[in-house]
Amino acid sequence: MTAANGVAIVLVIAVTLYAWSGLADYGAGFWDLLAGGRETGRRPRELIDTAVTPVWEANHVWLIFILVVAWTGFGIAFASIMTTLFIPLSLAALGIVLRGASFALRKDAARVNRRHLAGWLFGLGSIITPFLLGAAIGGIAAGRVPVGNAAGNQVTSWSNPVSLTAGLLAVSMGAFLAAVYLVAEAHRRRLADLDAYFRIRAIAAGASGLLLGVAASVALYAGQRQMFDRVVHRSIPLLVIGVLALGTTFLLARRGFLRGLRVVGALGVAALIWAWAVAQQPYLLPFTLTVTDAAGAEPTLKWLLAWAAIALIVVVPILAVLYTLDQRNALGEDPTTSRIDSGHG
C-alpha cells in the first residue's frame, strides 16, 4: 500500500469519526429545534443539552482535522473541491459559526428572547451544516468537481439530485445517531418518558434515512450511472451491513436492549460511509483525479501517516478519559451559571 492510499484511508476514518461524533451533534440540534414549544420541549432540550455540552468542541475538531489532512495530503483535490463547491462550503462554515456560537453563548444570554433566538440559530445551523456537507460529498461522488480553481459549475455542482438527496441523507443520519445516543442517555438517567420519546424518533429517523438512501441511489442511477454501477458491484456487502445494522437498531430499540444500541447504530452509519469510499476509490474526484495523482510529496505523506498514528495514541486515551468522566457524571458543573448541575431527576 502506498503512503497516498494510507492517507486516503486516514481521511475516511476521520470522516467516520466525525460522523459518529459531530454528525450526531448536528442531529441533537435537529431534535432540539423540533422539540416544540418552550414548555413541551423543555425536558428533551435539557437532556440534549446535558448530553452534548461537555463533548461538543472535541466532536468538531475532527472536521478541522479532515480539512487539514485533505490539503496537506491531496492539495489539488482540496483546492478543486473548496472552490467549485464554494457556495455550499461557505454556507456550511457559516452554519458552524451559527450553531457553535449560539450553543456556547445561549446560556449566557441574559434575556429570554435572546436565549430563544440563540436556540433557534443553533437548530438552524444544525440542519443546514450537515445538509450542505452531505450535498458537497454528493457533488463529489456525482463527478461534478473537476480539477482546477473553481473549474466546475458553482451552482449545479451541489444543487443536483444526487447532492440534494445526499444532503438530506446526512441530516437524517445525524438525527438517527443522535436519537440513538439520547435513548441510551435517557435510559442511563432513568428517564423512561424521554427514553420512549427518543426511541420513536430514532426509528423515524432511521426509516427516513432508509428512504433517502433509496432516493439517493435512484438519483445516482439517473445522474451518474458509472458511480451507481460501482456502488452496486463493490459496495453491496457494506450496504447490506448498513441495512442490517439499521434493522437491528430498530429491533434493539423496540425490545429495550440498550447496551448494544449505540454500537450498532454507529456501525450502520460507518457502513454507509465506507460504501461510498469503496465505490469511489481509487478516485478522489470521480472520474478525473485518482488518489495517486492528487497525492502530495511522499515525505509529507509519510510524516502525515506517522502523525496520524501518534494522534491516535495520544488522542484516544484522553478522549476515553473525557467520555468516561462524562458518563460517570464527573463532569457535571455548568460553567455558565457557575453552579452545580442539578440534573434532571
Binding site: 473548496m82 457556495i87 453563548l105 502530495g296 484522553i318
Partner: protein, 470 residues
C-alpha cells in the same frame, strides 16, 4: 487597499484578503486567550491549593469559565479559517499544501487535546479531587504552546519559504516537510507571538480587576485578580521589547522590502532618518509629515549611523506592499504601545518593590485598566505589519497572493455576510462575558469559597445507575 487591483487580474483578491484579514484578526484575540488564559488560571489554582486560598481558587474557577467560553468561540472561528484556506486561497493549499500543511495537522491534534483537557478541567470543578483536577489541567498551556508553534511555523514558512525547490512545471519538488517547519523566521516569530499572547491575556485580565480596584472593590479577590495576570504580563513585556527590536533588525536583512515599508525608507543609503508616522506617497516615493529623528533608523538597524539600509527605490513597485502606509502606521502603533507598556511595567515594578502592593495612583490604575485593550491593538497591528508587509507575496518571493486567490464568484457576498456574522459574534461574546461577570458579582462569595467541596453527588436520577452506560 484599493490600488491592489491595478496589477491584479483577480477580481476576488480584495474581498478575499479583506475576509481573511477580518477572520484572522478576530481569531487571534481568541487564540491569545486560548494560549495564555489557561496558564493564568493554573497559576491561581496552584496558589489556591498550596495556600488554601479561596480567593485564588475562585479566580481560577471563574477564569476557567471565561476561558471555556472564549475557547468555544475560538474553536468556531478556527474552523472557519481552515475552510478559508481552501475557499479563498486554492493556489496556496492546492500547490503548496504538501509543503507547509504538516504543521496544521500537528495543530489539529494539539487543539484536539487542548479541547478535551479544557473540557475536563472546566466541567471537573467540584467533581474531581483538587490535585487530580489541577494536574489534569496542567498540560493545557504546554499543548496550547505546541498549537501556537504549529501555526507560527506555517506563517514563518510563508515569510521565509524553505523545504522545496520549484520544479520546471512551477510546482514544488524535493519537498522536505521538516525543513519547511523549521524555517529561519520560526524562532523569531514564535518568541514574539508567545510573549505577545501572554502580555495580551495578562494585561486584559488584569484590566478587569484594575477597573474593580478603581471602583473601590479593594479586597483580596481583586488584589490577586490584578496581581497574578499583571505580573505575568509585566515579566513578558521587557523581554518582548528586546525580542521585537531584534526581529526588526532581522527583517531588515531578510525581508528588506517589508522593512523599507515598515520604516518608510524611500531611498537606499546610510544615515537613514527614523520617521514616526507621516504619510507615504506611492507616486513620488516620498514621505510628508511625521516626526523625524536623523540617523536613528540606521542606528537601530546596525548600531551606527553609517549603516546602509535598503529603501523602496531598490524594488520594483509591484514587489512592494500594496499599501505602505498601512504597514508603516501599524508598525509605529505597535512600537508606541509597546513603549508605553514598558513604562507602565517599570512604574509597577518600582511601586511594588517599595510597597508590596498595587500602586494606588489613579493614573496608574487608569493606564492599567486600558493596557489590556491597548495590547490587543498592538497584537493586531503586529499581524498587519507581518501580513500586509509581506504583500504582494503569499509565499515570500515565490507565489503572489493574486495568483493564489480563488476564482469562485461571490467572495464579496461571503465577505459581507462574514462581516455581519462576526460583528454579531463579537457582540455576543462580549455580552456573554459581561453577563458572566455580572452574575459573579451578584453571587455570594460564600457560595464560591467551596470551589472544591463539599462535592455533590451525581444528579439524582443517575445516582443509582453509575457506569452502566459506559
Amino acid at each position: 487597499m484599493g490600488e491592489v487591483c491595478l496589477w491584479s487580474s483577480a477580481d476576488q483578491l480584495l474581498p478575499a484578503r479583506s475576509q481573511m484579514a477580518l477572520t484572522l484578526m478576530f481569531h487571534v484575540i481568541l487564540a491569545s486567550l486560548g494560549v495564555a488564559l489557561p496558564a493564568l488560571m493554573l497559576i491561581a489554582n496552584y496558589k489556591g491549593l498550596r495556600r488554601n486560598d479561596s480567593a485564588a481558587l475562585t479566580l481560577a474557577r471563574r477564569w476557567s469559565h471565561a476561558a471555556g467560553l472564549t475557547f468555544a468561540v475560538g474553536a468556531v472561528s478556527g474552523t472557519v479559517l481552515s475552510f478559508e484556506m481552501g475557499l479563498l486561497w486554492p493556489g496556496l493549499t492546492g500547490t503548496y499544501g504538501d509543503v507547509f500543511g504538516l504543521p496544521f495537522a500537528i495543530e489539529g491534534i494539539a487543539f484536539f487535546v487542548e479541547a478535551i483537557l479544557v473540557a475536563i478541567y472546566i466541567y471537573g470543578w467540584r467533581r474531581l479531587r483538587p490535585w487530580t483536577h489541577f494536574w489534569l489541567g496542567f498540560p493545557i498551556p504546554v499543548v496550547a504552546a505546541l498549537g501556537a508553534f504549529s501555526i507560527v511555523a506555517a506563517n514563518a514558512w510563508m515569510n521565509t519559504p524553505a523545504g522545496f525547490t520549484v520544479g520546471s512545471d512551477g510546482r514544488p519538488t524535493d519537498v522536505d516537510p521538516m525543513a519547511a517547519i523549521f524555517t529561519k523566521a520560526l524562532p523569531y516569530e514564535l518568541a514574539h507571538l508567545l510573549l505577545a499572547f501572554y502580555m495580551a491575556a495578562g494585561f486584559l485580565v488584569a484590566s478587569v480587576y484594575a477597573v474593580g480596584w478603581l471602583r473601590g472593590r479593594r479586597d483580596r479577590y481583586h488584589r490577586l485578580g490584578f496581581l497574578i495576570p499583571f505580573t505575568v504580563a509585566a515579566v513578558a513585556t521587557p523581554i518582548q521589547f528586546a525580542v521585537g527590536d531584534t526581529i526588526a533588525r532581522w527583517v531588515a536583512s531578510n525581508q528588506p522590502a517589508k522593512f523599507a515599508a515598515m520604516e518608510v525608507v524611500t531611498q537606499s543609503g546610510a544615515d537613514q532618518t527614523e520617521i514616526i508616522f507621516g504619510r507615504y506617497h506611492t507616486d513620488t516615493n516620498d514621505v510628508s509629515g511625521g516626526i523625524r529623528i536623523p540617523g536613528l533608523d540606521s542606528f537601530l538597524v546596525g548600531f551606527s549611523r553609517d549603516t546602509y539600509v535598503q529603501g523602496m527605490d531598490n524594488f520594483p513597485r509591484n514587489d512592494l506592499p500594496s499599501n505602505v502606509n498601512i504597514v508603516h502606521w501599524a508598525f509605529d502603533v505597535m512600537v508606541t504601545i509597546a513603549s508605553l507598556l514598558v513604562l507602565l511595567v517599570l512604574w509597577f515594578a518600582f511601586a511594588y518593590w517599595r510597597k508590596r502592593t498595587i500602586p494606588g495612583s489613579k493614573l496608574f490604575l487608569w493606564l492599567a485598566a486600558s493596557a489590556g485593550a491597548l495590547t490587543y491593538v498592538a497584537v493586531e497591528a503586529g499581524w498587519i505589519v507581518t501580513e500586509v508587509g509581506r504583500q504582494p507575496w503569499i509565499v515570500y518571493g515565490i507565489v503572489r497572493t493574486s495568483d493564489a486567490v480563488t476564482r469562485s464568484d461571490g467572495v464579496w457576498v461571503s465577505f459581507a455576510v462574514v462581516t455581519v456574522v462576526y460583528l454579531l459574534l463579537g457582540i455576543g461574546t462580549v455580552t456573554a462575558l459581561r453577563a458572566m461577570s455580572r452574575r459573579w458579582r451578584r453571587q455570594d462569595i460564600a457560595d464560591e469559597t467551596a470551589v472544591y467541596g463539599p462535592r455533590p453527588g451525581p444528579p439524582v436520577a443517575a445516582e443509582t445507575d453509575l457506569g452502566t452506560g459506559t
